[in-house]
Subunit: 195 residues, 2 copies
């Protein structure tokens, strides 16, 4: 009836589907882990058949790598935006770093990025491709922080260390805990955090 045009076509392009698959993959792999997530779940979440999923990503490992890369990109983009915004408001040096830290805290509110990172860290030692992707992520973040915040190595180390602690505390549910040790550890990282 309606003449199919670019906007009314019923089929998606493979590229659009791949995009949807990554988004879906991030969500379900965050919850169940990279190895723990069945490809069928990813396919369902993306709204396609499992068979087509394997046409788009020939192996589960290929899919996992795409997901991990997207995770890194998202963190990088968040930091970039935070730095730009801080600078636009006249901030320099440590204030920019601080803004990046704040943005990380907000970023992991939705758990997806947080969990994905944990799974990624755990998978890295036995999966060279994931390990390489993680190295890429850190390399880019390091360069970004150096360039945008002009931080020295000591500050950058602090920044990353705090971020890793935040991840761990979140993983063990320390932020919801009522005990003194948890509250003390959770309080401190207000000053500077990372990826």
């Amino acid at each position: 009836m309606v003449p199919p045009t670019a906007t009314t076509r019923t089929l998606s392009t493979a590229e659009e589907r791949r995009e949807a698959v990554i988004e879906a993959g991030m969500k379900v792999m965050a919850e169940r882990g990279i190895h723990g997530t069945p490809t069928l779940e990813v396919a369902k979440a993306a709204g396609i058949s499992q068979a087509y999923l394997f046409r788009l990503y020939p192996t589960k490992a290929d899919l996992a790598i795409a997901v991990v890369r997207r995770c890194n990109e998202r963190i990088h983009a968040t930091f970039t935006a935070a730095a730009a915004q801080a600078k636009a408001a006249g901030a320099t040096g440590e204030d920019v770093l601080h803004a990046m830290g704040e943005s990380y805290g907000e970023l992991i509110q939705d758990r997806t990025l947080l969990l994905l990172q944990l799974h990624c860290h755990a998978a890295a030692p036995s999966e060279p491709a994931i390990q390489a992707a993680m190295q890429d992520g850190f390399r880019n973040l390091y360069a970004l922080i150096k360039a945008e915040a002009g931080a020295d190595d000591e500050e950058i180390s602090q920044f990353f260390a705090t971020g890793m602690l935040i991840n761990t505390l979140a993983a063990m549910g320390a932020y919801e805990l009522d005990e003194p040790w948890a509250q003390k550890l959770c309080l401190m990282p207000k000053s500077d955090d990372p990826a």
Copy 2:
């Protein structure tokens, strides 16, 4: 023939076997992950049948929890020993904390404890029992550091943060990397590290 005594009996006690299973479990689960390790592998490594493994630990989750707890105990014992040794040599306060940090660096040389922790962090959010075990571990470590090194909350946070960064760097193979960012990040944590 030979009168069977406590030392010549051919059967082990269940308790001895459970011990062997935990040791074996730590090794193989460190390499393949908690979920990624088949129970058959643990049984083989412990030198018993899979059927008997399930008599000793009724479910795989029970086994995993025992392994995680042992992991925590081992870290705690290492810190305790390091503190005692440092104090015997006349150290106090920050020097004791420093000694604990050093001992952590040595402890994770063999990868087993390091990898186990990463897997544990990743598994915690979806496995309440593992999450609880992690909380226990941190609670005990926090108390130990406070008592033995008399560190304030800021120092303890630093200590833990640095330890988490060490774990992450080790996971992504940064210690074997030749690039500037990796070398800078890996260098810094010489001052203080944790669990």
